[in-house]
Symmetry: C2
Subunit: 415 residues, 2 copies
């Protein structure tokens, strides 16, 4: 038997039937029309936003990295709750604008921006986080051709990393941003060219659960921003300190203590170099805001025994939950939090593996976990499914339909 | 520097410009309209089919596992060249029928077939490869309700594996098929229920390059089929011996010697148990038929130096080429065959990494390989990209457009 991640607190059930936002999962499926289904609870997102506002120093802006979950109904709600939307393509720009984001609050990072994407962002008035000197020259040329003043920030490849992060984005040769020692020259160039200088973007890593590691990275980012501010002779109007706030997916992991992060950041900001006195700061989060809010529901289509092992075969799979299957950036497969949603809270009765409907041994959603006995027709819930799910999985693989998605709100549920 | 896989033979160039099927890659991109672009050369597929027909024993049927590449123009061509189409979902069934496949030549394997999928296949007249006793009962009940005689084969979880295969599909507890020792009882059940018994499906693994390993697995499959034939009292009309024919992706790998596989299979068939005297045999291939026929072309958008390393940033990425990025079923990342398509055949001049346009360090198409010097605007070609590319990647991730796809045919190219 293998362990599974810890199911987030706050889920209740009625007679074994998992409830989300005051309604049973079967009711949600009836509303949505089918399984597999992602249910996103806006109340959980709101709780994260509220925790951020309470625990982070006043004035630190909160940005949403929409790549984590760009589903328009969710994105529309996010736009109303955060201070900025971070995008990664012209496609995301179009969705963000359609969903009501103001261009003034949109910033665009991404190492391979095409000319057409630069043009779309410049014309819309979004901020470009420049990834290289070459991209800067292309942006300036396009802006000149369009007779626009481009809004340009510089993404810096930091000379430090985020310890313990799931994905390192700094501390060595990277395709993201310009190396720290070249940032000042690039800023001087874009200022001299007449662009509106919007500041710095410093992203050292993602998915960290140790507040001290995040605090260290933020302190290092402040020091780097100050150095670049002095070297460039241009005060950065905004420093995006990156994200890195992780969520607990796997056995033994615990939620990030954001209070500790906030206290450390307050101290770092209080002690910051005077060159940054007028600078505003932002933190860019995706997964931490929406990950825990999502539950992926998939129905058991077959129950099989093979060589003494039990397999619960579902109508879902890695085509919607690539990360949960262990096939996206993980070396050792570990189990996400999982439950039989129609026998929620019942005592485990057997060891079973939950697999998807795809014809590949990679399609495993839970490997040999303790579960109540489940039959065909029962529902499996995979928790922590709100980020990097539907759009970060090979949805067209094997020709299955796209998953259903539904937005609920426990804060507005009927009692 | 790291090695890359070997570029398949037969590609030529003019002044450094890669040609495919008699036209330059720039001409193909102009025809298709944009990059990134998958170019599939039907002549290479035809050559594989021809090799199969020449080297495999006469009468062994060739099936195409359309999950490898279900793009309709390619699929339509495949349907004209092979003897059967193997599908994995009702979605694939619909595409196969639309593209002209006859239901009589379609068989449907997949561990999580939903009732609606069973119904669609039964009503269409396709063969179901039953994955479990439970699925058999559902299929029989649906057929009775539809007043159809279902065509049922039994997928067997073999009690052996395919040595050296990239993905093992047998030899232990698996979610695929019924365990070998339960197959005979299931066959008796479906025959007694009045179904049309279509035979056995035995798939031991995939992506093997050792002909002896494949020959062993085929010999074991024949022995298993004979045992099940005797135990069940029903001669299998067809035995699908599975696939497993690999293609060389990585440094040091060599193409499968299919002649050796064919000779060994001929010997095994000649020596087979008389209970299989009237049985027909099929081999089900996906990757081996179409993998080498595909080239993924992506344009360099940025050329960057970070801490002394060179990055060629392209407009493509893991959203089209998840496997090439090393994030789909591989533990250790290795490089696919790669070239600068606009400087093809030129001497390497530097070590560079080819990365995609996504904001994640996972998005690396080639890691520190020797390449001619390339600039913004040059094209990168990733070879062996015809299978498990466009549909087996998270296409919607970060909001980029779907790749272009084009079908060409070197056999019909203008000289």
């Amino acid at each position: 038997m293998k362990a599974a991640g810890t199911i987030p607190a706050g889920y209740d059930s009625d007679n074994g039937m998992l409830h989300i936002a005051g309604q049973s999962v079967e009711q949600h499926i009836e509303t949505a029309g089918d399984t597999p289904l992602f249910v996103y609870d806006l109340a959980r997102v709101r709780a994260q936003v509220t925790a951020f506002r309470r625990q982070m120093p006043a004035g630190v802006a909160l940005h949403y990295a929409m790549k984590a979950n760009p589903w328009p109904p969710l994105l529309r709600a996010m736009i109303g709750m955060v201070d900025g939307i971070d995008i990664a393509s012209a496609g995301e720009l179009a969705i963000a604008l359609e969903c009501g984001a103001e261009a003034d609050h949109i910033s665009f990072a991404g190492p391979g921006k095409r000319d057409r994407e630069l043009r779309a962002a410049i014309v819309a008035g979004a901020t470009l986080n420049l990834e290289s000197e070459g991209e800067a020259e292309r942006a300036l040329a396009i802006a000149a051709a369009e007779r626009c003043t481009p809004r340009l920030a510089v993404r810096v490849n930091p000379d430090f990393d985020l310890r313990g992060s799931g994905m390192k984005m700094g501390g060595g040769a990277k395709p993201f941003g310009v190396d720290a020692d070249r940032a000042a020259a690039l800023i001087r160039r874009i200022v001299a060219a007449g662009a509106t200088y919007r500041g710095l973007h410093i992203f050292a890593g993602s998915q960290a659960l140790d507040p001290a590691a995040i605090a260290d990275a933020q302190r290092s980012a402040l020091a780097l921003a100050a150095r670049i501010g002095r070297d460039s002779g241009a005060v950065p109007p905004l420093v995006n300190l990156g994200g890195g706030f992780g969520i607990p997916y796997f056995p033994g992991e615990r939620p990030l203590e954001i209070g500790a992060v906030g206290a450390a950041l307050a101290a770092s900001l209080a002690a910051r170099d005077p060159v940054l006195a007028e600078t505003r700061f932002a933190i860019e989060l995706g997964r931490w805001l929406v990950g825990e809010a999502g539950v992926y529901l998939t129905r058991i289509v077959d129950r099989k025994i093979s060589h003494g092992e039990t397999f619960l075969v579902t109508d879902g799979g890695l085509h919607h939950q690539l990360a949960a299957s262990g096939n996206f950036g993980t070396v050792v497969r570990r189990n996400y939090p999982v439950a039989i949603a129609t026998r929620f809270g019942m005592e485990p009765a057997e060891t079973a593996s939950v697999v998807g409907c795809l014809c590949t041994p990679l399609d495993r959603l839970a490997d040999r976990v303790a579960l109540p006995h489940a039959d065909v027709g029962d529902l499996v819930a995979i928790f922590m499914a709100g980020a990097y799910g539907a759009t970060a999985s090979p949805a067209a693989f094997l020709g299955h339909p796209a998953p259903e998605q539904i937005l609920v709100d426990a804060d507005r549920a009927q009692p």
